[in-house]
Structures are given as structure tokens and as C-alpha cells.
Amino acid sequence: MKKKLLSVLLAGAMVASLAACGSTGTDTTNTSDNTNTEAKADDKTEEKTDATTSDATGSLDSIRLVNGKPEIDEQLKTLASKYNEETGNVVEVETIGGDQKASDALKAYYQAGNMPDIFFVESNDIPDWEGKLVDLKDEQWTEDTDSELVVDGATVGFPYSVEATALGYNKDLLDKAGIDPSTLTSPAAWTEAVEKLDSMKDELGITAVFGWCAEPSNLGWSSGTHVFGQYLDAGLAYDDRTYIDLLNDGGKIDEKRMKDFADFIGMMNQYSDPALVIDGNYDSQVAGFAEGKYVFVTQGNWIAPNILSNENYSGFEMGFAPYAFEDGIDTIIGGVPNFWAVYAEGHVDAAKAFLQWCSEDSAQQILVEQAALISPYTDCKYTADAPFAASIAEYIANGKLSYWHTMEKKSGLEDKTSVIFQQYAKGALDADGFTSTIAQVIASYYAN
């Protein structure tokens, strides 16, 4: 009896699993069955007709958007429902990311024939999708922004947020020490300021001047991409590609500039919290800054939500100071880190219409005020109430934003360089050793 029961259960489980397989196999062909028919009379002719999705609610097909930023998942869903409310069209938002890299998940989607209409891309993903993305150069929104992603003359990426990074500072502490952050534009000024802050440690109640973390296994993206990006772009005009072009030409570096950069990093190593610099982590770095233990932090505006949610955050003002490793460097680096691309075999018109709507007023309000993004659109009236937003806006207004070409370096390079930052922080390398080692590692990675 027992055996019979068990075998029935097992057989049931098998049938259920087969059924589950069957349903995932077919759902790509009829995704829109569940959207109720309420078609408006609109004779918009489409280049690409798709029989299976003609019964969407609005005038256009229902589309899918794959988002790679889990932190704004909820806000994008709000955005989609707002779009549905205003136009009657349907956008489904799916979020991947967190521990999984979005570009990988998308490759699996592609293999499974389950591609979304709009998806998350970073600029160095574009060559992989060659011939599969729609050129958006005739869209109206391209006139309201300079940040769209253009690759080989084709506009392939829709920008939706600007991020920036430099040395984030705690304004309260700088005021107490009598330092004006706008004067920090030369190595000499930095040295002077840092020594002053270091001597006032007890008065200011700080652990160290810098909250800088060169731990490679979890924070390699910070040192290997963002801090390294300062070498590539700090002090350059927005469209100046000097050092990225040099780097992508077989992994060459400018030794003089790298040496100056190394000296600056050396100063950061010297005045950092020893518990953080070699084997700390993101959480303790950001928490330390939020609690006023560090005057400067080597992250970007994305740490804002973590700071605001820290219970020991005193409400101090913050801003960005440049990595002035050469005289006269007065820019921060930033730009649009990732984009939305439109898949050529999807519902192109519906996707284009949605993107156009996203660049307009009601969508910008949600993206800026709720998702706390910094808008790349010139006609956006809203300003985020987030920390750093004012500082970034000021740099942008003064034309002091350098584009972060660090996203265009060969992918995976950050894993090769981040360890060298750690060795330098540990004292296993000196400034010259850092310069020559990093040059050698970059050259051999590009050669491979």
C-alpha cells in the first residue's frame, strides 16, 4: 500500500515536472493572452506586425523591458503603470541583476528565443549585439540629450541616468577644519589639506582621512574601474579620448600620468583606515563615511541610498572633490553608465514610443524624484533631493564633468588591476613599482 502510494506520488511529480517544462516551452509564443482586449481604434501601420500580440490594451503592442539595476525595480514598475494609465499601452518590467550579471542573463534569454523588446546594456556589450539593435538616431529625444550611446555612427542606447564618481567629502568635517573643497585642485593643496585633517583626528572624531578600500575580490570594480578611471579621464574635457584610446591601442599607458596618479593613490593609502584599505568591504566603507569616521570616500553618487538609510547619519552635506593628481585637475568623472537598447526583432515601434515617453515630463518626474536618478535630459525640470546631486549638477553646469571612458576598457581588466592596488596599499609595491607593474599587467591582458 505504502509502495503504491509512493509510486503514485512519484509519477505525479514526474507528470507535474513535464507539464512545467511544457508550459515554459510554449509561453514565448503567446505572452499576451492574459492582457484583455480593449483595442482602441487606431490605424497605426507597423513595419513589423506580430500576429500573436495584436490584442494588447493600448494602440501599441505590449512590450517587455529588462532592467539591470535592481535598486530601481519598484520605481520602474511605477513608471510602467503610469505609462499604462496615460496611454493604455502595456510595458512589463523584469529585473535581473544583483548577484547575476545582466548581460549574461540576456545571453541566456537570447539562446532561449525569449528576448525582451528593451534591455539593459553597457557600452562594451554593444559589439556582441552587432546587427541586433535598432538605430535610434531619428528619435525625437536624441535632441534633448548629449548622452545617448553612439557606436559606429548608430545611436543604440537610450540614456536614463547620470552617475558620477570622485572623492566624496563630508562638508561638515571640512568646514570644521577650515578647508574649502573647491581649492583641492592640485597635489600640493591635497597634501596640505590631508595633513591638516590628519593632525586634527581627535578634534574631528575621525578614524582616518580617507575611506578608501582596495580589497580586490568584492570591491575590485571600485578600484579597478572607478579609481582607475580617474587615471583615464580626470581633468579632461567631456569628449577627450586621449588616454582611453591609448589604452585600447594594445594596452599602452602614459607613464608620467600614471606615476602622478600612483603618488596620489600613495597618499590615499597612507592616510586611510588600515582596517579598511586592504581587506575591508563596501558596507563598512560606506557606513564609515555615513557615520563621519572618514572625511573622504572613494565611491560615487550611488552610495546615497545607503548613507540615508544609515541610522548614525547626522545629516551632513556632501559633495565631490576631484582626484587632483596633477596641477589643475578640477573635474569629476561621470556619465551614463548603462543604457536601454531596443531589440531589432521585437516590437520596435512600441519600444520607440515608450522610450520617447520616458524622456518626457511625467516619466522624468518618476525617474528623478522617486528613483533618485540624475536626468541626462536638458529639458528635465526636476532635481533629485539626493546627496551629491547638487554637487554633480554644479560640475555639469560649469562644464567640469569628464566622461568616464573607463567603461570602454577591455572587459575584465578591472580584475587584473585591482590586485595591484591592494599590493600597493599593503606596501608590497612602491609608487614606481605600482606604475611598472600595472603597465605590464595591462599590456599582457591586451595582448592575450
Partner: protein, 361 residues
């Protein structure tokens, strides 16, 4: 009688032929859509394929004579399993092998480059290094895990009180996933072990920040995770030693050490073989602890004339990073095939040895 069997035969033949035609059409549409001659939105190709296969099966099923009938029924019952095995194991294996000869980037491939990936593989210092440290890791693991597990098993089979509790707690680390475990130990190495190392060795930073010590740290964590599991197998082995043999030894005046070396160890020799191979294959495939603990980071100042940044990256992690981070799926496929060959050799040797000793488990 003859007439019915003839009509049956013709109808089954029609069924069969129709099924084959429909299947071929469905597969052609599929291939054309993949290559790009027609739009890939052909919703009917799935149902068509299923219809064709049903046609073939029905045709075979209704084909006269009992013998055929039985064969096809046998096959039908095996079909779900065979199909699943084919789709999830055989097909990816050959597809992977094919991709390793191309320049596939995970989305599409442009050229077939023959053995390019394979020759390039052995010129890549990072990969050679990864293979070397993987072998080193395997050797250390095999010896240390078995030693620790055997000692724990001896302890747990002794008559001390509270052994049930200890047995469970030694086994517990094996139940925690490797990723979680890696992060826990990362914290321990960075915040707890540093207190000791600062005091006695004047080293303020974590063991994980130096390649040599980081490798040792991975071995330690791996032993901690895996020894409990192997211990359970040793306990079973030790418990199967007949009591009368031990009793006879005790009467003959054998010391505990003599009992251990001359009776217990020879009696559990088959268990030792099994445990050795279990540790061998699982430490070859080491991935999760490696990923969570160091993510491969580690500085090697000179290996084959190059500076390496990923000194603790083992073979499995190397393959993963080649595909995911460097975005070279085809190159990673070639490495994965090498990995497959190594593991296959180990498994074959294992099966041979196990068969020779006629292990019972």
C-alpha cells in the same frame, strides 16, 4: 484476418511516412529561422514538430506483429528519460565541443577557427597557473581531508559521551552552501584571525590578501566543509568491522595502536579508496568557496615571465571568468573541454580501481 493486418500495415505506414515528412518540415523551418532566411516568429513550428513525432511513434506502434509492438512499448517507456538525458547531457556536450572550435561570444559566432583556442590555451600563463594550483589543491585536500575525517571518525566511534551531538556538529558545515560559507570565513579571516596574526606575527591584514596564505586558507575552509561528510562514510566503515575480530585482538593483547594499524585500517581499505576519490573529484571541481572567499584575486610577481593578478583562481573559476568576465565563451568552452577530459580520466581510473577491489557500498 490477412486483410485487416494489411490495412493496419498500410495505415501505420501512412502514419509513419506522414510523421517523418511533418518532422522534416518542422526541422527545416527551425533551421531556416535560426539561420535567418525566414522570420523566427513561426509559432507553428513547435506543435508541428510534436505532431510529426507523434505520427512516427503511432506509425511504429500500430505496425503489425507482437514483437514490434513490444519493442516500441519498451522504447516508449524509456523515451522520457532518454530524451531528457539527450537534451541535457549529450547535446550540450557536443554543442560545447563544436563551439570550442569557433569564435562564439555567447550570442553568435562568425568564424570557425579550428584548434586556435586549444593552442592558445597552453600559452596562457593564467590557465597554466590555475591548472598547477588546482593539482596542488587536490593533493593537499586529498591527504588532509581524509586524515582529518578519519581522526574525527575514530573520535566519533569511541565510547565518549555526547557523540551524537559531535557527529551532527562535525557534519553541519557540509550543509551550509559554499557561497555563504565563503563569506562567513572571509569575515573570520579579515576580523578575527587578524587579531591573532597582528599579535604574534606582526601582520595586520587578512590571510586572504597574500596568494600563498590565501591558498592555504581555501584548503582550511574546504577541509572544514568537507571533512564532516567524509567522516560519516568512515564511521560507517568503522562500524562494519566485525566485533569478534576486535575482541580476538583485544584478547591477544593488541594495544589500541596495533588494533588501529593492523586491524581497523586494513579492514576499511575499500572505504578509504572511495573517500579518496570522492575528495579528489570534488576538490577538482572546487568553485563556490573559491569564488566567495577570494574570487580568484592574488598577486603572483613572476610566472612564465608574466605578472598574474589572479593567483588563487582555480580551474573551474578560471573557466567561468573567461566566459563571463572576459566574454570569451568559445575560449572558455575549449578550457571546459580540457577540464572534462581531466575529470573523465580521473573517473575512469576510479572506476577501474574500485572494480578491482570489488568494493561493496
Amino acid at each position: 484476418m490477412k486483410g485487416t493486418s494489411r490495412t493496419k500495415r498500410t495505415s501505420s505506414l501512412i502514419c509513419l511516412v506522414l510523421g517523418i515528412i511533418i518532422t522534416i518540415v518542422a526541422i527545416t523551418v527551425d533551421i531556416l529561422a535560426t539561420v535567418g532566411f525566414i522570420s523566427s516568429d513561426q509559432w507553428y513550428r513547435g506543435p508541428l514538430l510534436i505532431l510529426g513525432i507523434i505520427g512516427i511513434v503511432l506509425g511504429l506502434y500500430f505496425y503489425p506483429t507482437i514483437k514490434h509492438h513490444r519493442n516500441i512499448i519498451n522504447f516508449l517507456f524509456l523515451f522520457p528519460l532518454l530524451f531528457a538525458f539527450f537534451v541535457t547531457v549529450i547535446l550540450p556536450l557536443f554543442l560545447g565541443l563544436f563551439y570550442s572550435f569557433t569564435d562564439w561570444d555567447g550570442i553568435q559566432f562568425h568564424n570557425i577557427i579550428g584548434f586556435g583556442n586549444y593552442t592558445r590555451m597552453f600559452k596562457d600563463p593564467q590557465l597554466v597557473w590555475s591548472i598547477l594550483i588546482t593539482f596542488l589543491f587536490v593533493v593537499f585536500d586529498m591527504i588532509l581531508v581524509n586524515l582529518v575525517a578519519f581522526l574525527l571518525a575514530l573520535l566519533c566511534t569511541s565510547k565518549l559521551p555526547g557523540m551524537g551531538f559531535f557527529r551532527a556538529s562535525f557534519f553541519l558545515p557540509n550543509l551550509i552552501g559554499g557561497i555563504v560559507l565563503g563569506y562567513i570565513w572571509q569575515f573570520i579571516f579579515a576580523n578575527v584571525v587578524t587579531i591573532i596574526t597582528t599579535k604574534y606575527f606582526d601582520r595586520a591584514y587578512s590571510l586572504l590578501s597574500d596568494t600563498n596564505t590565501a591558498l592555504a586558507a581555501i584548503v582550511v575552509v574546504y577541509i572544514w566543509q568537507y571533512a564532516g561528510y567524509i567522516m560519516l562514510i568512515y564511521i560507517t566503515g568503522l562500524n562494519t568491522i566485525p566485533g569478534d575480530v576486535l575482541e580476538a585482538a583485544a584478547i591477544d593483547g593488541a594495544s589500541p595502536l596495533q588494533t588501529l594499524f593492523n586491524i581497523k585500517i586494513p579492514m576499511i581499505a575499500p572505504t578509504i579508496t572511495i573517500c579518496t576519490f570522492l575528495t579528489l573529484t570534488s576538490s577538482f571541481k572546487q568553485f563556490d568557496v573559491n569564488l566567495a572567499l577570494t574570487n580568484g584575486a592574488g598577486f603572483v610577481s613572476n610566472f612564465m615571465g608574466e605578472i598574474l593578478s589572479e593567483g588563487t583562481q582555480m580551474l573551474a573559476l578560471n573557466i567561468y571568468e573567461t566566459a563571463i568576465k572576459s566574454n570569451e565563451y568559445a575560449f572558455a568552452q575549449a578550457k571546459a573541454f580540457l577540464f572534462f577530459v581531466i575529470l573523465a580520466c580521473v573517473s575512469i581510473i576510479q572506476v577501474r580501481i574500485s572494480n578491482k577491489k570489488e568494493v561493496e557500498l
